[in-house]
Amino acid sequence: MVPTQNPTAALITVNGLRKNFDSLTAVDGVSFEIRQGEVFGLLGPNGAGKTTTISMLSGTLQPTAGTVNMAGVPEGPERRRALGIVPQDLAIYLKLTARENLEFFGGLYGLHGEALKRRAIELLEMVGLSERADSRSVDFSGGMKRRLNLAIGLMHSPRLLLLDEPTVGVDPQSRNHIFEGVKRLNSEGLTVLYTSHYMEEVEALCHRVGIMDRGRLIACDSVKNLIATLGGSVVHAEIGPLSPDNAMQEEVALAALQARLSAIEHCSEAEILPAEPRQDIAGSEENPHIVKVRTDAPGRVLPTLVSAISAAGAPLYSLSLREPNLEDVFLELTGKSLRD
């Protein structure tokens, strides 16, 4: 479920951000804004430049070009206090306990005494580490370390939380903890930048998403709008040959079917593709086809589609309807899958 908020005021504005490492351009002129109170997702495959972008947002990396502005917060110590950073690679002291880690970093942000202790207890509770608070983190599971990593970034109650792939390599229980924690914090008003290459997470959590590939921001909108650019759901129908014995007649029949499909209303795209050859009932080889139709109103299109196919005299072997997701958006935009 996407939280239903309508944030508008920009908290962070990124303009023409660029970073070169020697000859490699890791981030290539990226511009976007993160609005007050939203969860902004940054989605992209390995090496897209997500971490580099975050490092420039947080000020740990000097941009080659471009600017990062935070509403009402000048660069420097004040900005650092406003940002909470959860790095992609664990950054905790393994020889210290969970509590000691939290209290140490809280102390660097000026918390002390009772307030420091209370805040640590609060966060241990939130990430579900209360029972292991006084164990050294070297003995923690991977997921527990990740949860501690997250909690440290929250110790000083930042205004904007920069989360760099907080759920990578994490067991489902820890993942849930982190996920629910971020949701709750956001509902309490925390603005979040959430980096991931799991599109399910981004879809479920983020109000708006920026898609990065090879250092560029190739799309930036709400999940709904991004998916809408694909023109709706995709229907796949596998059909048998139209005129098995005559290749010429088959050509003609296919052309006629194509014309019918294109005429269907609410249908943004229709094509007929060859499918894998298969054996018919008698055991001889035949050449079926796949009909692929894209629509924003599948309920209305399906009956028309089925009757068009039967009118053409083709046997219908299977029919499937698939809702598109961010994965498809990425595929559409880059021609490749998010995970390779």
Binding site: R80, R81, L83, P87, A91, F105, L108, G110
Partner: protein, 388 residues
């Protein structure tokens, strides 16, 4: 504001100290090794209580003469502080023993020793000579020549006592003869204890091995990402370094105190004459060691990369600086070379204060050079150290 800056530095230092306390191998290297080595070297110099060797110099003696004079000669040697060890097999056997390094020196009392002695005293052989051949170990000439001097004195007395006995008139003249007095002028620092001898070098060497830890902890934090995490906090880079170095400084101070404590308790280390000077020297040494560690951290990317290198480097510095081998044993040119190490200046300062009982004021130049080393190390390191 200022208080807060200091508190942040302190919280970094306190955290590092806490981590160190849980690091068993670091503790063994920092405290265990120095303590053990101090005991081993301290006790090599004889017994702890007297603080100096007893029982005299052991000298091999091949006595080929059974006569009374040989007996008297041995008695005189004993009185003079030589412990004659009888050797059988004559002069040849004795030479072999010395050549093998068993003794620093040996004496041969030839078969005709008593006969020649009596002949010489009674004037029958004119001014005939009496011989007691001396054999020195070429590998230990300094001790050998000391022994020769002592033995010569003993022989003088043997002859004198016999002359007096036989020629009482001459004896009166002898007793009334003018003397050249050689009163002992006491030089401060005489009578060094094992603690005085060994601890200055050890305190310097072991404190400088802190540098290894400084480099390791900085690179470790950079590798682990915790350095970046600290950089994200509203504190300065200088504070981070100060905090981390303070922790190692505390470690070094504890180590020095521990060595001094052991020195006082068991090795008769003399510190009472210059406690302030020793404290200042210790602080300057720690400062310079930390600076060196920081500089070493700039010569590698990962902890593993520099760990082996720095260990060897520190050992090398230990040898050429005179902290592990007394500088008096180093050749002249090496003594000069040793002055390029900060160790040597720290050692000078400690030696001045502990062994020579100089005042703090007179050893200030050494401390100054040591601090200068520290500052140069820090300057270079800060310019080179990559936080990212």
């Amino acid at each position: 504001m200022n208080k807060r800056v200091l508190l942040q530095i302190w919280s970094i230092a306190a955290r590092d100290v806490r981590i160190l306390r849980r690091d068993r191998s670091a503790l063994i290297f920092t405290f265990g090794m120095p303590i053990i080595l101090t005991f081993v070297f301290g006790s090599m110099n004889g017994n702890h209580d007297a603080g100096r060797p007893t029982g005299g110099f052991k000298v091999a003696v091949a006595r080929e003469d059974a006569g009374q004079r040989a007996e008297q000669a041995l008695a005189q040697l004993r009185t003079a502080g030589i412990d004659p060890i009888p050797v059988t097999g004559g002069a040849d056997a004795l030479e072999k023993l010395i050549a093998a390094g068993k003794y620093s020196a040996g004496l041969v009392i030839p078969t005709d020793f008593s006969t020649r002695f009596d002949a010489a005293i009674s004037g029958k052989s004119g001014n005939g000579s009496i011989e007691m051949p001396f054999v020195a170990d070429p590998g230990d000439t300094r001790v050998a020549s000391m022994i020769k001097g002592i033995a010569a004195g003993a022989n003088e007395r043997l002859v004198a006592s016999e002359v007096i006995r036989q020629y009482p008139d001459a004896a009166i003249a002898m007793l009334n003869r003018p003397k050249i007095a050689m009163p002992d002028t006491e030089i401060k620092g005489q009578g060094l204890t094992p603690g005085d001898i060994f601890l200055p070098g050890f305190m310097v060497y072991f404190v400088f091995s802190l540098a290894n830890g400084v480099a390791a902890t900085l690179l470790g934090e950079r590798q682990e990402g915790t350095l970046r995490r600290m950089l994200n906090a509203p504190i300065s880079r200088a504070q981070i370094l100060a905090g981390k170095l303070l922790a190692r400084g505390i470690l070094g101070a504890v180590q020095t105190l521990l060595l001094i404590g052991i020195g006082i308790q068991w090795l008769h280390l003399s510190v009472a004459q210059a406690p302030v000077g020793i404290a200042i020297t210790a602080i300057a040494t720690i400062f310079s060691a930390c600076g060196m560690g920081l500089l070493m951290a700039t010569f590698g990317k990962t902890m593993e990369q520099i760990q082996g290198m720095t260990t060897m480097f520190l050992l090398l510095l230990g040898f050429i600086s005179g902290t592990l081998i007394p500088r008096s044993l180093l050749p002249e040119w090496m003594v000069k070379v040793s002055m390029i190490t900060p160790h040597a200046w720290a050692l000078n300062a400690y030696s001045d204060l502990i062994q020579r009982h100089h005042t703090l004021l007179s050893t200030l130049p050494n401390i100054g050079v040591l601090l200068l080393f520290g500052c140069v190390f820090f300057g270079l390191a800060l310019a080179r150290f990559r936080f990212e």
